[in-house]
């Protein structure tokens, strides 16, 4: 290059070049950032521990007295867990087969009862009286240590 070449054109050229490299570098850096930000966040384990929906804990063994029941969230459906006696446990879908109300265990009658239309189910899930057209789906219950585990029946 000769000295005489350094005219206004070359200055402009250099300016353009710096703008371009700034644009290119910045663009690539920013776009890569926008690609990898989600990736990093994805790899970060979520705070809500994984929902094991084939099995949920029904709480501690001694939380529930004999001849009483409670509602447990199973995935996004309610389940009624019943401690029939000291050693016998039962669990059923708590969604009434009539109009989808949530049923409850009634210790006095030893039946599962729906408050909406007085549907009654026995402790095998069968309809004893009232409008429900179908029995309640039964879940399996087992005791692990001092924890009660409800799981879907195979």
């Amino acid at each position: 290059m000769k000295a005489s070449d350094t005219g206004p054109d070359t200055h402009l050229d250099q300016d353009r070049r710096s703008v371009l490299s700034w644009l290119l570098g910045g663009g690539i850096a920013a776009s890569l950032g926008s690609f990898f930000y989600p990736v990093i966040r994805f790899m970060n384990p979520p705070h809500i521990s994984e929902v094991a929906v084939d099995e949920v804990s029904g709480g501690k063994l001694n939380d529930l007295k004999a001849n009483s029941g409670k509602i447990v969230k199973f995935g996004n459906k309610p389940v009624v867990l019943v401690r029939v006696s000291e050693t016998e446990w039962k669990a059923f879908s708590a969604v009434c087969t009539h109009l989808n109300c949530t049923v409850q265990y009634q210790g006095s009658t030893r039946l599962i009862w729906c408050a909406c239309h007085n549907g009654m189910y026995d402790l095998t899930g069968r309809v004893v009286s009232g409008p429900p057209p179908k029995p309640l789906e039964e879940y399996a219950v087992r005791v692990r240590g001092d924890e009660v585990i409800i799981s879907r029946r195979a």
């Binding site: 070049r17 371009l20 644009l23 290119l24 910045g26 663009g27 690539i28 920013a30 776009s31 950032g33 926008s34 690609f35 989600p38 969230k73 995935g75 996004n76 459906k77 309610p78 969604v95 109009l99 989808n100 109300c101 949530t102 408050a115 909406c116 239309h117 007085n118 309809v127 009286s129 009232g130 409008p131 057209p133």
Partner: protein, 424 residues
């Protein structure tokens, strides 16, 4: 060679014995006769009595082992031919009212059908000489009588309404009794028919559930609430304690539930029954009176909660479609719907105070889930913003690369390097 012959001799008496018990000359002849005389022989194959080992002569008498028609159908041997209509219930009752006999076949089956039949309108009229009324065979059919739990039986729950309608929808037959014939048509538009026939719910009420079967007659006005209360227990309890119970019961021309809900053609109740031009309440409560105002208020509550829940549901569904996490809110919404059901139940106390609690609880849930779904939709917008930002960066980079290419290639044109020969 010898032993088989000996065996044949041994078999002869056994064979004779066997023929003695199962021989049925009735079928032998009737199955080859024509028309009406052949029908019983064809139908009886499907009869529940045949399956239990009974045969023609057990009802019709005579001697089924005799090959001679004069002998088999000899009145001296008890042959009665076609039983008189009036005699049919009694004929069936010979066995069906005999517990000792029935125990051998169906130990759990009731034996009071005949007794009940005698208390029914059908039975009373038959006793007074009206032979047009239903007897056993008109509902259970004849010669192909099936068990009630057999889906092909005319008294199977799904088929029973049509069986009753066979006579009760026949205007000619009903004319002389002066009773309406529209019950089946009305019933076919009812929630009960829908549950029974459309949803296939066998526990849904058919004619016999309210009228009884063998003792069939209309439930009297005073017992209607009790009949409905069989299934609708909580409604009946609230209603029995309500201000309307004594008034409706005392009113002539109908009682209890049917004042508002009618009888055979019970539709899905709507709030239009409470308020507006078609309101059943306005039969007694003129518009503007306190009673009508309360009804209007109740309708407003139910409609309000219903539409609030539906609105939350639709916004939730929208958020769900965008892949947002709303399952928790959807469960909550189920609780909201439960409150709506409870509010509709509480209405039957006819006291606004009782309805208030479920309505308020339901509204709180509807608002809570609406907020959750709006948050989810907001999150969706955040995603789109993120996309927009990313696309802007991508756009800038593409633009910069394009400028860079232009630059490089304008230099190439100057230098026209060895690798880039100029076009011809």
């Amino acid at each position: 060679m010898r032993p088989p012959v000996i065996f044949l001799f041994l078999l002869v008496p056994l064979f004779l014995l066997a023929e003695g018990t199962t021989k049925n000359t009735c079928l032998d002849c009737h199955s080859v006769l024509d028309g009406r005389a052949q029908r019983p022989a064809l139908l009886v194959k499907n009869d529940v009595h045949t399956a239990s080992g009974l045969s023609c002569s057990d009802c019709h008498g005579g001697d089924r082992t005799s090959d001679d028609p004069g002998g088999s159908m000899n009145p001296a041997k008890g042959f009665i031919g076609k039983p008189a209509r009036k005699a049919i219930p009694k004929l069936c009752a010979r066995c069906h009212s005999n517990p000792d006999f029935m125990r051998k076949f169906r130990p759990q089956q009731r034996v009071d059908q005949y007794e009940l039949y005698q208390t029914s309108i059908h039975g009373k009229r038959l006793a007074s000489g009206d032979e047009n009324v239903a007897t056993c065979i008109d509902c259970h059919s004849v010669h192909d009588i099936r068990a009630v739990k057999d889906p092909a039986a005319p008294v199977y729950p799904l088929r029973l309404p049509e069986t009753c309608a066979h006579c009760h929808s026949d205007r000619q037959k009903m004319a002389k009794y002066g009773i309406p014939t529209n019950q089946f048509d009305e019933y076919r538009n009812s929630v009960h028919w829908n549950a029974l026939k459309i949803r296939g719910d066998l526990s849904a009420p058919n004619c016999a559930s309210c009228h009884g079967n063998h003792g069939a007659k209309p439930p009297q006005v005073e017992s209607v609430a009790a009949v409905c209360g069989n299934c609708h227990v909580l409604f009946a309890q609230l209603y029995q304690k309500s201000v309307h119970e004594p008034i409706f019961s005392a009113a002539s021309g109908g009682g209890g539930c049917i004042v508002c809900h009618s009888n055979h053609g019970i539709r899905q109740p709507t709030t239009a029954m409470l308020d507006g031009p078609k309101a059943v309440c306005s039969q007694c409560h003129d518009p503007g009176t306190p009673g009508a105002n309360v009804a209007a208020q109740m309708a407003k509550w139910i409609d309000g909660l219903d539409s609030a829940l539906k609105h939350s549901e639709s916004v939730l569904a929208r958020a769900d479609k965008y892949g947002m996490e709303v399952s928790e809110a959807q469960v909550r919404l189920g609780d909201g719907r439960e409150n709506l059901v409870k509010a509709r139940l509480a209405l039957h106390s006819f006291e606004p105070e009782q309805m208030k609690k479920p309505i308020e609880a339901g509204m709180a849930i509807a608002n809570e889930t609406l907020r959750a779904s709006q948050d989810a939709l907001h999150e969706k917008d955040v995603r789109r913003m993120g996309l927009a930002v990313s696309v802007i960066f991508i756009g800038i980079t593409i633009l910069a690369i394009w400028v860079l290419i232009r630059r490089i290639e304008s230099n190439d044109a100057y230098r026209s390097g060895a690798n880039a020969p100029a076009p011809k």
